[in-house]
Symmetry: C2
Subunit: 356 residues, 2 copies
């Protein structure tokens, strides 16, 4: 186990690079505070399709193909696509990938899916099994509402603790390290001269399922916060890093309430991360957008990382980031059968520093 | 890419070992021709639980914990659990894993899930990221029927091309190669002196999604056969092997009809595998059990490989096996929206030979 640190953390000695990223969001997300970081904002969340599911599928495909284009690579150079979404049987991912003709692996980690894909994609590259891998994830407010909650036409009320499933898809191309190639890619995908830094994935911490017995399906942040805390502490312990090592510790979608719970739990454990802590769910919308506790969905942390964080890192404004996407592993039938909501969180460490 | 062969095949130079396997099946599967190979046969498919979903969850947990016990390893030695099932949002896998306290990665490949888990688990071990990994998959006739088809109470008729979702769960422990340990494990997990051989995973071929436009959800075998054929041909091309290299080429669950289609398609492509070709779906039941075209479900190929193939290989009766689990990546909503059925198939090569 030459590439494992501590109990749950993978070390990627070859530091897979992120060589292309693309994010596409819906109308509401395009009116939020993160709008300027996304590559594409839909004017109409149907994206010209007849069903919400087909719209989400098209969004994910757009993200995958555009991330590929930004990477400067041909489709034939891609060894595998790893992605997932929230729709039953991963409909968006499977139907997105059916015309790609690229080896496909479907993943399900609820809203933690993007980090799960990054972890496994990085393994493939770091281990010498692949040169280029695409990772992606998507969610859509309208597909999630009708599958998990109520028909949209019902217009049901939502409690203040509820989160809003983001209409968002994102993808990234991970690639083996090659310094010469890095310059070419930078020129092709980011013509702006200010994008001077390259992103490298160095570590990943695979999370355990944490279930505190919480049964309120309108309290996803509370269900996921203990998993995020467990993974953050485990990551810091395994790597021997202090929270201050990171310029940004970014959880997936704990939302406004879950973020506070996570901070409290971490503080109680003697881990102070407030100075560098952000949460994608808390960042996606502003209060007047009526999304209550904030954003959620696979696409939430996927699009904010692929949009905001990716660009800020390329600009050299963030040097070390830890992304911890969080997932609530419930289903309608588990809730109907009186079950609680298991949470999970996986962490990925990304840096622009210290790579030859 | 030192560990990739051809276009789609991973090479595992360190040859991860299968050091424990366990299969548990339902009452009907226990009356079929494969019965003697399973570790446990339920007398009652509820397994003492109040719901079918909880029964499936319990079956998968039983498989995971018993495979672990057979491996002679402690839970603390397991670096990750990789598994999946057919229930929405992977309910069986997530709820199974919530008490395990082992890092968890959820996978969805429909009935191809077991090979997907074996591929990714082997990557972790071969790449030096893990010492021991558990892979698993499950399905249950009653959870699948009510989710994908009709309420059981409806007693609807099934066309002759339909397959029967197997009530079955299975798990295997994959481990890094260590000759000294191999002997100990063999003694602990298989006290019978005749289990003289060790199993090693040497290659994996990750499949592409193949969608021929077939829309009949009662023709899963026909939907998956082209994907199986594509992956088999790709595997043979990438590895430079002839079909006769394998003592057994075992597809997941094409069933009686899909198996014939696959043989026809392969024959048309000049690839003759009939001498060594079997299909788990075609093996699981006999005609009088009224399962029409045969078995299906994640648990079908998982339990037949973990039961029959694992034992036959340990006995030295099969030296080289290629398992190609096949998945139909549809959902109820994709069918309702008029979509066709995308198929996928992943292959894993297992040997008892040529390892020092």
């Amino acid at each position: 186990m030459k590439n494992k640190l501590g109990k749950q953390t993978f070390l990627y000695p070859l530091k897979p690079r992120i060589v292309g990223a693309y994010s596409i969001v819906g109308e509401k997300e395009g009116k939020g505070p993160m709008a300027k970081w996304f590559d594409m904002i839909l004017e109409d969340d149907t994206f010209g399709e007849k069903t919400w599911e087909k719209s989400e599928t098209k969004m994910l495909k757009q993200a995958i193909l555009q991330a590929l284009q930004k990477s400067g690579r041909d489709k034939e150079a891609i060894d595998a696509v790893l992605c997932g979404d929230l729709i039953n049987q991963l409909m968006s991912s499977s139907f997105m990938a059916r015309d790609l003709s690229i080896p496909f692996l479907g993943l399900y980690g609820a809203c933690s899916t993007m980090t799960e894909a990054m972890i496994l994609g990085s393994l493939m590259i770091d281990g010498g099994y692949a040169s280029n891998v695409i990772v992606g994830a998507s969610s859509h407010y309208c597909t999630a509402e009708r599958q998990f909650r109520m028909p949209l036409e019902h217009g049901n009320q939502r409690p203040p603790s509820a989160q809003w499933t983001a209409t968002a898809a994102a993808a990234m191309v991970l690639s083996e390290f090659d310094k010469g190639d890095a310059v070419v890619t930078q020129g092709q995908s980011m013509p702006q001269g200010q994008y001077v830094k390259e992103l490298y994935i160095t570590h990943a911490t695979v999370g355990k399922i944490i279930d505190t017995g919480m049964k309120d399906v309108n309290q996803m942040g509370a269900a996921m916060a203990p998993a995020a805390v467990d993974t953050i502490i485990r990551h810091l312990t395994d790597t021997g890093r202090e929270p201050g090592y990171y310029d940004l510790i970014l959880t997936g979608d704990l939302g406004l309430i879950g973020k506070e719970i996570a901070l409290d739990l971490l503080s109680g454990a003697g881990v102070e991360i407030a100075d560098v802590f952000k949460d994608c769910g808390a960042m996606m919308y502003v209060k007047k957008q009526d999304t209550h506790s904030g954003g959620s969905g696979c696409g939430c942390s996927a699009s904010i990382f692929s949009g905001y964080v990716y660009r800020e890192m390329r600009l050299g404004k963030i040097k070390n980031a830890l992304l911890i996407s969080t997932g609530a592993l419930l289903s309608t039938i588990s809730s109907q059968q009186g079950e609680s909501v298991p949470g999970i969180a996986h962490a990925v460490a990304v840096t622009t520093e210290g790579v030859k």
